[in-house]
């Protein structure tokens, strides 16, 4: 695929932005395969990708002085973005708005630039260092990473992975198989269609709210991050809490509990309804709260 991508990328159009005093605007359109692979590189500013029902790519770029040069080219495999200045570092931001065929596979790389994707149905691979990442629509897969920026995925997708260091993670919209990993960011997940969910944090708080799908399997693990489960009152779930020093509180009305204490820590089993969903919480010392959703 990559070889084909490289072979097809025959012409790269380079538009030079001389260093004017005011921001410059570039517009460029080119035909594209309906399932094109599109790689976007924009370190500073913002990148917005919008899927549309045309077999073409339309790029609108606004460049502040010192942002670099715009490049774009390809057909089945398209590369576009901002080539930063080779000397002196990036002095200005670039705002990219890119319309792509809805079935495209999209890869975006940023430093402090934010990334926003809406309406793309192919796979998404999005990386920013400090910028926020936001996804909406129904992509086939989503992989999103940001060290310090916030990640928000509100999408109907079978598979999503989100990873931050200190940025928050918000997941909603119906993700069948999700994994969220953070060191110190807060993770919020709206439970709905998840067949499988795994959430990991060190000190970051984890909040799961809603009604988990019956038969789903959830695994939540923190070191000291608080875990809050705000579940619909008619949720069917068995919640196994393993903790060494965290306080466990359950405020759900229909709960049967048994506590097993030994040197290895304590385990609390909370059964709501018929226990059709498996939720396992493991924490070293984070407090765990189970309560009915407001």
């Amino acid at each position: 695929m990559r070889r084909r991508l490289t072979a097809v990328l025959t012409a790269v159009l380079t538009l030079t932005a001389a260093a004017p005093a005011a921001a410059q605007r570039f517009e460029r359109g080119l035909s594209a395969a309906s399932d094109a692979t599109i790689r976007v590189y924009n370190l500073s500013g913002s990148t917005t990708i919008v899927g549309w029902d045309r077999d073409s790519v339309a790029l609108v770029a606004e460049l502040e002085p010192g942002a670099g040069r715009v490049y774009v080219g390809g057909h089945e495999a398209i590369k576009l973005g901002i080539d930063p200045p080779t000397a002196g570092g990036i002095a200005g931001a670039a705002r990219l708005e890119v319309r792509v065929p809805r079935g495209s596979v999209v890869w975006v790389k940023a430093a402090d630039a934010s990334i926003e994707v809406d309406g793309v149905q192919g796979g998404l691979d999005l990386y920013s260092v400090t910028g926020n990442v936001r996804v909406r629509g129904a992509p086939s897969t989503v992989r999103a990473e940001s060290m310090e920026g916030a990640i928000s995925i509100d999408a109907r997708t079978p598979w999503a992975r989100a990873k931050t260091a200190s940025g928050s993670i918000d997941l909603a919209g119906g993700i069948s198989d999700l994994a969220a990993t953070t060191v110190s960011g807060t993770v919020r997940v709206a439970a709905s269609r998840q067949a499988r969910a795994r959430i990991e944090s060190v000190t970051g708080e984890v909040v799961v709210s809603g009604r988990p799908t019956r038969g789903g399997a959830w695994e939540i693990e923190t070191h000291s991050g608080a875990v809050t489960l705000e579940l619909a009152s008619d949720t069917d779930a068995q919640i196994d809490v393993h903790t060494f020093g965290g306080e466990v509180r359950s405020e759900l009305g229909r709960v049967g509990t048994r506590r097993v204490d030994d040197l290895a820590g304590s385990e609390l089993v909370i059964v709501a309804g018929t226990g059709g969903t498996s939720i396992t919480v493991r924490t070293f010392k984070g407090p765990v709260t189970v309560r009915a959703a407001p």
């Binding site: 990559r2 590189y41 260092v129 060290m147 070191h223 060494f244 070293f284 010392k285």
Partner: protein, 227 residues
Amino acid sequence: MNCEEVRERLHDRAEGTLPVEDRRAVDAHLKTCLACRAEASELEALLSAVAELPREIRPPRDLWHAIDARLDEPEAAVLDRRALGRPGTGLPRWALVAAGLALVVVTAAVTSVLTRRYDEVMALKLRRSDGEAPVAAPGSPTAPAVDQEARFLAASQELLEGLESQDLSPETMAIVRRNLEVIDAAIAELHAALERDPGNGELTRMLLATYQRKIDLLEQAARSGEG
């Protein structure tokens, strides 16, 4: 080759099945790419660990002895007992029940042995990760695991050193350092807990998971330098 192409070939490279040309290209990439090199090292360590898993697991000798003795009984004795059983099954009902129970006990024992060995290995790994010398005696069953762990630590150390020498922005490095401090504090707490309860498998597992998060963070930071 770019990072994605290289990573698709790392498994074949580790198993020695990669064509020569591809191998050269992958090796050339690994010389310059920190993140891929770390992934290659981790994969090699994992495959080595898998290769060292025992091909045969025997239950504890005291439990195995009785069953072993039964298997070694003269055929005539077995036939004599069969003669007392119901036609068709070859064994009396009580013997079938006993055999079933024995199977359960053996399975549990094997699981216990595996778990204990896993915990021992992990405990060694954790002590080493604090900079202590390997405590496994030469030739002991855990010595290979210590070797694996040494490779794992070397890879993570290389990743960290590489990050520090990589041309990452000061802001990015500051984020990395802040979060490494958070993780290291968690690791220290888990170490302290393990000192109080050294045989605790769940604590060991949590500690390893936290180490994995540290590696994940370093790899994530390394990716920020990729084109």
